[in-house]
Subunit: 209 residues, 2 copies
């Protein structure tokens, strides 16, 4: 069976994958950098639903790219997304990635206040006093808290990547954040995840246009 | 719009999600612990394709659970999967999770030998001399190298979670590993990912039967 394996150099695998994805999109196209984000979400999941479910507010992807190039930081609600973000590339622009989920005081505060750790994490991100891209890959409660913070004038995110995954309040939280009046990239519906949140960040970091 | 959000306690969200998934599976069922794994893959991705694509060799899920309870270690090919594995729970059984992908000497050796870092990582895992569950969430080359190591008698994994995602050699590498003569859990086809590899580990760690 080993003879069925195509010999492709490690460095060529991603290029080849993107060619296959582009080909299977059958001529569908998006303005850049949206197109790079759509392709990278499919690359990460092998799920072409992302060609249909990704929603961008006006110019959101380019606003994200520009923010990163100015040194914006990324705040995420999962350690997995944090792990997947290319922090070396981010640091080249002067940025940094934060995830407060494992902080002991976050767990305690969430318990005391009866909310999720993810909601507290968003508050910590807002309190950084920096230009922030919020990359939510897990908790709809993070998006709900962000909505409340925005409406209270406590934070003005450069971009919200609203990609929690799941079955309880996920669809509703995404719909909510798309009305918050800030730039967003959201895979509508139930799908998303920390891999999707991270890959959207990386697509913007890698974008060369 | 906030009034569309259902109030569910953080601790109840996962339970509720699993009820929704079970309900939408319309009576389809699997023997445990396979069922827990199927449900958790869907929970992580919101993608019901996992109900159709997950393949288990005979008794694979229970063999994995038993290995973990004996203190087997987990070796994975991505930092994201490593991050997603519940290492606290794993440690309760005496296990540990390893990912060698970021090790400087792994990068150098991969460059010198013209192979992927993931292939080297599998060799490092094999050389641990421990009972190992390999959890592959990214690189088909990891599965190919594992196949070669098994055939050469250099490793006898307790279980292989073969869940790379993508478009180049992924389908073929999964087909290959299913012929290696060791227990496997594999989402056939292109889908998978570090989130899926991690969640399969966690489903086995959380299994109570």
């Amino acid at each position: 069976m080993l003879d069925k394996i195509e010999i492709v150099k490690p460095t060529e695998i991603e290029k080849r994958s993107m060619e296959i994805i582009t080909s299977e999109l059958n001529g569908r196209t998006w303005p850049e950098p949206e197109f790079s984000i759509v392709k990278r979400c499919i690359h990460t999941s092998a799920d072409f639903d992302y060609a249909d479910n990704l929603c961008f507010s006006e110019n959101a992807a380019m606003l994200g790219v520009e923010a990163l190039r100015r040194g914006a930081v990324i705040v995420t609600d999962t350690r997995m997304a944090w792990s997947g973000i290319n922090k070396k590339k981010l640091a080249e622009y002067g940025g940094e990635a934060f995830c407060f989920m494992s902080d002991a005081d976050v767990a305690q505060e969430a318990k005391d206040r009866g909310c999720t750790r993810a909601a507290i994490c968003m508050e910590r991100g807002a309190a950084l006093g920096k230009e922030v891209i919020f990359a939510v890959g897990n908790a709809p409660t993070a998006l709900i808290r962000l909505y409340e913070l925005i409406k209270a004038g406590e934070v003005k995110p450069a971009l919200i990547i609203g990609a929690p995954v799941g079955f309880v309040n996920v669809v509703e939280a995404k719909e909510l954040i798309m009305t918050a009046g800030v730039p967003y990239i959201v895979p509508k519906g139930r799908k998303g995840g920390s891999n999707i949140a991270a890959t959207i960040c990386n697509a913007m970091l890698y974008y060369k246009g």
